[in-house]
Amino acid sequence: MLLEVIQAAARTAYWLDPGQALFIITHILGLTCFSFIVTKRLIPLLRGEHDYRLDRPLSRLRRLLKYWLGQWKHPRYLTAGTIHLFIFAGFILLAIRAFALLILGASRNFAIPGLYGRASALYGLTTDYAATIVLIAVIVAAVRRAVFKPARYAVPAKYGKGHTGDAIFLLALIGILMVADSLFEATKSAGLSQPGQGVEYASVLSLPWMLKSALGAIPLSSQQNLHFSASFAHAVTFYFLLCYRPFGIQFHVETSLFNIYFAKLNRGTVKPVKWGVADEHIDQVKSFGVKNFEDFTWKHMLDFYSCADCGRCSDNCPANTVGRPLSPRFLTIKARDYSFQHYPVLGKANNTNNKKPLIGGIYSADEIWSCTTCGACEEECPLLVEYIDKIVDLRRGMIDEGNVPQTLQKPLKSLESRGNPYGKMEKKRADWANASEFQQACNVKILDGNNRAETLYFADSITSYDDRIQKIGRATARILDYAGEDFGILGAAEKDSGHEVRRFGEELLFMALRDHNVAAIKESGVRRIVTADPHAYNALKNDYKNVPPMEHISQFIARQVRAGNIRLKQVEDRNNVYTYHDPCYLGRHNQIYDDPRNVLDAIPGLKRVEMKRSRDRSFCCGGGGLMLFYEPKEEQRMGVKRVQMAVEAGANVIVTACPYCMVNLEDAIKVAGLEGKMGAIDLAELVEQHIVRASPVRQCAEVVRTTQQECAMASAAQRDGIRA
């Protein structure tokens, strides 16, 4: 490439002087333009909010290796992912040469460290193939874009015109680069005064090889002209691409490295209102959330630059799927367009004349409330672009301005005055456990100072007050009881975990709820916490600080089944086909995929199938907490879509492990007209139905009175029972 151009130029008498000057000018011009554009692009980042992304360099480096160099997420979309893998690998291989060239502009005798003689020739061989593969890959990609048009690239009319033209233009530029590179290689011997020096390998069937074979017959002078033109075309295209990329979707070529290195590390958490401001000083923060573009953090702005417009986020977004006015892809694209418009490369930055707040400007309120924070978009993004924190920040801004849908105002007010979104009395919070029939079978301690326990069952609001969900609460309590756990509940002293309060942007109310609960938990003196509500689980595990270790009931059951403390009997209805629906806050946000499945598989005779969208691609049921009060504009309910997926999988019972999933799925079954054909059950309820009443420990204690050998046999039989 250019390295050789300069070397060749130095040795080729008749175009040495004009050639060298031309190349040096091209280098200087290209690099100056690029530096200028990048500097301009950095301006909004410098005006953005703080974001602390310099901690834990080793974790960040590991992620860089996995997601950037390893392209970890790409094969999730096999065709596009594979094409990208080839282009990326080719770029990485060719980049070394390109960087060397730039240095060589200043120092003629520079050589890539470690690349001499045979190694250099081998590298040349590799790059010949790399260029060929990249060319094939961009052609395939362009054909895909132009002819096959995968649906996820389409731009709905409301978001402007399609991006296909731009995408193909950029692919074409890469193609030109590869062709020029190969042509240069093919005519290299003609460009050198002493052809054939050093070690050379023939890169059979590569593009340079083919070109060389084809051009062998033409006169040397034409070859020399071609050689010069190819190298110059390569240089111009290279710099044109370099300078054009920061104007569109290919900027990720430059930004991805940084975007992935600085990506968020803590799953399940929400960014603070302002980085660097301690909770006790939060009152000093003048404005909450994101209202104007500059309220985004610099990293979130870098996200906007880094988006490659691949559409994977929106393809997986349940809100987008059911026709809510939200598409994560365009959340980013619109912000990027805003940034480019208000921070132009040419002209003054941030023209305040037509500056509008984001909500009502580029975003609508409904768009921002439509998100269930399920995390499907973030799970999918190969560039680790963040969405939930941005949505929460935008909501914080709306909360701060009082721009909150009426349907959400009541539950928020009730959370403030009563500690639950339903406006129910605090003293009735433990009523679910006091139903007389249940109380006789399972006495749940209320940890009000008179009672102590090892383990706290944190029920949370919906389990405490919703008639249907109380059953999940009672099943959970029974399981804890059967497993011999010394547990209790907080009762009236428990308030809503505030999980959705925080994710709906009402940070101060969340803090009040959190502080209350943390104090109540400390007061109770428990050493462990169990919950059946993944939202509560996530809040206590990731949002709260200084509370005892958390366990979701599915983890607890799985652990007890492994230990032999819970034994499950033959499945009650052998005709049922079960499918497990991963709740977002258990699965994606906390990576608990296997425990619930292992528990199901521990029920002998239970038939289980997987839905197409399962585990980290699970499809949100419609959202929990305050989302139940929100009236979205949508064509279809997420839950209905999900129930249909269960039908497609051939299941007739959906097992879930989240109270909100239960509410949404049961409603959806009715809406879809599938009553009687499809059922929904919580994992805790199913386990409670199948539990073998006497705990193995007690059973064993009885047997031990006879002989120890019999006891061992009994345990073995139990284990077999579990396996069967």
Partner: protein, 263 residues
């Protein structure tokens, strides 16, 4: 425009289980949570929107005790410029006319172009607005569900009348309007807003400050006295429509037509 919004603190019906006390002369007040009377909140929002459009100030006033400051602060967090508490031992037990008398005295201390009340208090009898207007000799319109500012000290208002029909009126300023819910969408008041006004001083006026004759207000002056509270006996249960989904839908549409819900 100087706007006065009269508000009241009431037990929140959506967050309480209202039960009678054992003497059956009041509701059980333990464990109650209170909030701004809902129609009053719409009145304040409307005042804020008017001021947002044409400028001016919004003052929020309530008659009550120290505990009622909470609703003033909430409305200030919403955006009202100031809150005023009218508090005096002699005020307690006032009937509607008594409250109107106290408010009238306060109104006359200042200069307000427009006085808004909620259409009624959730625990009240929808009389203060009208009485206040009468005592002030101001024009009055009730059940107002839209306000448009006209030139020359006039308003164009619409009132909700039976069956959802709207009636458009022109009214001279200064006037008193009782605001119907649904006139707007009140903005949300977050914890942060409330905290920011937590320490703002709320001026308090007692009877003598307002020049109120103690014999004209309070329990002694009340001509309307509550005698009893009772929960009506349960009537006939809901009518369950029978039949297939289509039949049920048809019956429902017919019922709605018969009762005037559909035209």
């Amino acid at each position: 425009m100087e706007i006065l919004a009269c508000v009241r603190r009431v037990p929140d019906t959506s967050e309480n289980e209202i039960e009678l006390n054992s003497a059956a002369n009041d509701i059980q007040r333990e464990d109650l949570v209170y909030s701004v009377n809902e129609p009053d909140n719409y009145a304040v929002e409307e005042a804020l929107q008017i001021v947002g459009r044409i400028g001016g100030n919004v003052t929020v006033v309530t008659v009550g005790g120290e505990e009622d400051e909470e609703v003033l602060r909430r409305e200030m967090a919403m955006g009202a410029n100031q809150g005023v508490l009218l508090s005096d031992e002699t005020f307690s037990g006032s009937d509607g006319k008594g409250i109107a008398t106290i408010l009238k005295a306060f109104v006359q201390k200042g200069h307000y172009d427009l006085i808004l009340t909620g259409v009624q208090a959730e625990d009240g009898s929808a009389q203060v607005g009208g009485m206040l207007a009468a005592l002030l000799d101001y024009p009055f319109a009730s059940l107002v569900n839209s306000i448009e500012i006209l030139d020359g000290g006039k308003l164009k208002i619409s009132r909700e009348i039976e069956g959802g029909t709207k009636e458009i009126n022109e009214i001279d300023l200064p006037c008193v309007l009782s605001i119907q819910t649904g006139i707007n969408e009140p903005r949300y008041v977050g914890m942060r807003g409330i905290r920011q006004v937590a320490s703002v001083n709320i001026p308090t006026f007692a009877g003598p400050d307002l020049g109120i004759d103690a014999s004209a207000v309070g329990e002694a002056a009340a001509k309307v006295k509550r005698e009893d509270y009772f929960v009506p006996a349960l009537g006939k249960g809901a009518e369950m429509l029978q039949g297939s989904r289509e039949e049920i839908a048809e019956k429902l549409v017919q019922l709605l037509k018969d009762k005037g819900g559909l035209k």
